[in-house]
């Protein structure tokens, strides 16, 4: 995992805002901050959930190991140490998350910013209802495990969904779970846990994967990076509001009256 993580050094995220939501955004973007582990999911279960290979199966490769490949001289190649998956020639595979608007820990933009700041060799995507993350396969498995085991995942308000992601903005079901048309997960009332019975693209799992108990809403409100009127509203964070307005003014003037933008 150390080969995949960004070394933060003295970097501190400069994201503005004086509320806990802004603080959480800064925290998750900070590669020096260790995400708090809340649950354990075995390596095999992560592989099952991803559905790209069966546990124990060798990684498929799309090119020979870099050592054998004989790369041409290149200053960028000398500067950037390849990740383990890149060295081995792994395929690029994905994990995709759906984050509920109801106080999920992350939202798509924060997820992408976080991926860029914390991990190497990532290709995140940012949409409203889903956030794909693509990496070399063995690197992906390590990152997926961290994303599933720590405070940035909640079994009820975050879904692992390769396709048919509809649900981020829907009301919650009677158990507080986010809607999933494919019903990849069920709620085990006895144990109070969420259990995945299908992998991320909806293929039934022979061995279900337990991802733990949903967090109480009050706890989610402490972890979330989403502003909401029934939580922390943007109106309560003038620093953030003013920062957005300043960016807007700078962009506007830069395209119209550049000298005005330069003096702001």
């Amino acid at each position: 995992m150390a080969d995949i993580k960004v070394k933060g050094g003295k970097y501190k995220p400069a994201y503005p805002g004086q509320t806990i939501v802004a603080e959480n955004r800064r925290k998750y973007l900070d590669p020096n901050y260790e995400l708090r582990k809340l649950r354990s999911i075995s390596d095999e279960d992560v592989v099952r959930l991803l559905g790209h290979r069966v546990p124990g199966e060798a990684y498929k490769s799309v090119h020979p190991p870099l050592e054998e490949l004989g790369e041409p001289p290149c200053p960028i190649r000398e500067l950037v140490e390849p990740t383990p998956g890149a060295k081995a020639g792994d395929r690029i595979r994905y994990i995709q998350f759906t984050d509920s608007v109801y106080f999920a820990p992350l939202a798509p933009y924060v997820r992408s910013w976080m991926a860029f700041w914390r991990y190497r060799g990532v290709d995140p995507g940012t949409l409203s209802g889903r956030a794909p993350l693509e990496m070399r396969e063995r690197d992906l498995e390590l990152v997926a495990k961290e994303l599933l085991e720590t405070e940035v995942f909640d079994p009820a308000r975050v879904g692992v969904r390769g396709a048919t992601v509809h649900g981020h903005s829907l009301r919650l079901d009677e158990n507080g779970l986010m809607f999933d048309a494919l019903r990849r997960y069920v709620f085990d009332k006895e144990k109070g846990e969420v259990v995945y019975v299908k992998d991320q693209v909806g293929v039934p799992l022979e061995t279900p994967v337990r991802v733990g108990k949903p967090l109480p809403e009050e706890e989610l409100k402490k972890l979330t990076t989403i502003y909401r009127v029934d939580g922390i509203s943007t109106r309560d964070d003038p620093e953030l509001l003013n920062w957005v307005k300043r960016i807007h003014l700078l962009r506007t003037y830069a395209g119209f009256k550049l000298n005005k933008a330069e003096n702001m």
Binding site: R25, D99, V101, Y102, L106, A107, P108, Y109, V110, G125, T126, L127, S128, G129, T164, H166, H168, S169, L170, R171, L172, D173, E174, G176, F179, A181, L182, R183, G202, T225, I226, Y227, R228, V229, D230, S233, T234, R235, L240, L241, V244, K245, I247, H248, L249, R251, T252, A254, G255, F256
Partner: protein, 555 residues
């Protein structure tokens, strides 16, 4: 207005729970069978499959046997009407009124008569009088739909197939207008409120323009690029016949040039080759032209919000559903984006809220200082108000279940707000872009990949007019580089243009000639009330122009 929460009635009809409830039940609605429209589709598809021996529509094919309808398949209220329908009824292909709206635009070219008349009088020594003009118009009403006028032994077109084709004229000269046969006249004095009529007549002056409605079936058989050609051919022939001209002398080439080029106003410009379409196709239709084509401002001159909402609605149909959804993309996905701005009274609520805010703060419409401070103030308030409604009413959030829908609606309210506050469309579009980045930081999400890109850079070109750097919003269209794949934006931009000019009580936005050309009571699509027309289409009560019954077996 905002205290009423205009969207509540629709939310109560859509969901059985209270709009403020955060919890519901899923997976119990019997999938597609909960929808009368889907049941109808299945019934038809089974019949079709049996007749043709090839499988057809089958909702059980969805997701390997998990059909749509795992949640409530909610109905939609057409905003500003009492009509509820199913989402399927709002797909362009399923809605005859939407098709009529576009057919009405594509089949239109406006051709000035000043140059041909000058040619007739000065070069050919012919007399042009109101009587000769009336005679020419009668000939052209025979020729334009496909009647022969000069040559012997010609084939012609069955009138029943082209009953929608005709020509009318208008002028700013009351004296001339009085002498034109009323069957051929778009009467500015009759169609517009007095102040608007005066402004339009002053702008148009003594010129005489003919609005040619080429047969719909011609546009469908070829494309918008043929409309001016068809019109020019029949205009030239009608001229030759009416004024007894020699067919083929050099002067006729000048008629043809005037009719094809010099005096022609196309509704839309051609698009570059990677999106290649001829003129009079939706990709080249400027926002300001669409705002002029919509006629709501002559019926509701004191309600700029309604003017904006009606323009937005049909703009979303033509730009999002038809241009991006069918011409550029294909398939069925784009309807969901587009309908958000004209269903369930949601954007209506947001816009009337911000209109009240503007009135209270600035003492009326188009009265606020045209400054960045006004834009920051109005667009921020519109965005935060709208976000708060989505968060206070989970049923509202579920209605606009896609981030692109919410982003479009909030930015539209912000743009309309800034536009009606300042009376300036550029201020409106700048407010749009502020809304987008504010929304993004608030929710941590916005639209899909391609949706967001242009909204990060849009502020920088919102006041730029120089070539390759910008354009007044009135003259931008889906063909503007930054808007070339811009679903959920362009219809709204047309609405922002309309809002700014309606706030100033302008009689038109860009082109008075286009405005008058669509003030034509003979059109089946009532351009003063686009949303009512869409609703009629959804209810299958809209009878469109254009059909083939006369040349196919009885059915």
């Amino acid at each position: 207005m905002a205290d009423k929460k205009l969207f509540i009635d629709a939310l109560k009809k859509k969901f059985k729970e209270e709009p403020t409830d955060k919890y519901t039940k899923f997976y119990i609605y019997d999938g597609w069978k909960q929808s009368a429209r889907k049941r109808e589709f299945v019934e038809w598809a089974q019949k079709i499959a049996k007749e043709r021996g090839i499988p057809a529509y089958n909702p059980e094919m969805h997701l390997g046997g998990i059909p749509v309808g795992q949640r409530v398949l909610m109905p939609y209220k057409i905003s500003g009407t009492d009509v509820y329908c199913e989402g399927d009824d709002l797909h362009y292909i399923n809605n005859a009124a939407m098709q009529q709206a576009w057919d009405d635009i594509r089949r239109t070219v406006i051709v000035g008569l000043d140059a041909p008349h000058a040619l007739l009088e000065k070069r050919l020594g012919k007399e042009v009088t109101p009587e000769t003009i009336n005679e020419y118009l009668e000939v052209l009403n025979h020729a334009l739909p496909g009647g022969a006028v000069v040559q012997e032994h010609m084939v012609e077109i069955h009138p029943a197939l082209v009953a929608d084709s005709y020509v009318k004229v208008f002028t700013g000269n009351d004296e001339l207008a009085d002498q034109i046969d009323k069957r051929f006249l778009i009467d500015i004095n009759k169609q517009f409120p007095p102040e608007q009529a005066e402004a339009l007549k002053k702008a148009i002056g003594k010129s005489l323009y003919q609005v040619t409605k080429v047969p719909i079936i011609v546009g469908r058989a070829a494309d918008g690029g043929t409309i001016s050609r068809w019109s020019a051919m029949q205009i030239s022939m009608a001229m030759i016949s009416s004024y007894k001209l020699m067919a083929g002398e050099a002067a006729i080439a000048e008629f043809a040039f005037a009719a094809k080029h010099a005096e022609v106003i196309q509704m839309a410009t051609l698009t570059p080759w990677r999106r290649a379409r001829g003129p009079n196709e939706p990709g080249g239709l400027p926002f300001g032209y669409l705002a002029d084509i919509v006629q709501t401002n002559r019926k509701y001159p004191d309600d700029p919000v309604k003017v904006a909402l009606e323009t937005l609605a049909i703009g979303s149909v033509i730009f999002d559903q038809l241009w991006f959804g069918i011409y550029m993309s294909g398939g069925v996905g784009f309807t969901q984006y587009a309908t958000a701005v004209y269903t369930d009274d949601i954007l209506d609520d947001f816009c009337y809220y911000i209109a009240d805010y503007v009135k209270k703060k600035f003492g009326g419409f188009a009265k606020a200082p045209r400054t960045m401070d006004t834009i920051l103030d109005v667009a921020t308030e519109a965005t935060l108000y709208g976000l708060e409604q989505y968060e206070r009413f989970p049923a509202l959030m579920e209605t606009h279940f896609g981030g692109s829908q919410r982003a479009s609606v909030l930015a539209a309210a912000s743009g309309v707000g800034a536009a009606i506050a300042t009376g300036d469309a550029q201020a409106g579009v700048n407010g749009w872009y502020l809304s987008m980045i504010l929304h993004k930081e608030h929710m941590g999400r916005l639209g899909f990949y391609g949706y967001d890109a242009q909204d990060q850079m849009g502020a920088s070109n919102s006041f730029s007019y120089r070539s390759d750097e910008g354009l007044p919003l009135e003259l931008r269209g889906p063909n503007y580089p930054n808007y070339a794949m811009n679903v959920g934006h362009t219809g709204e931009y047309a609405g922002i243009v309309a809002a700014a000019h309606a706030a100033c009580k302008h009689a038109w936005c860009v082109n008075p000639i286009v405005k008058v050309a669509f003030a034509d009571p003979s059109l089946k699509f009532d351009w003063t009330e686009p949303r009512k027309m869409i609703a009629k289409g959804a209810l299958r009560e809209f009878m469109p122009d254009g059909e083939r019954d006369a040349v196919i077996p009885p059915h």
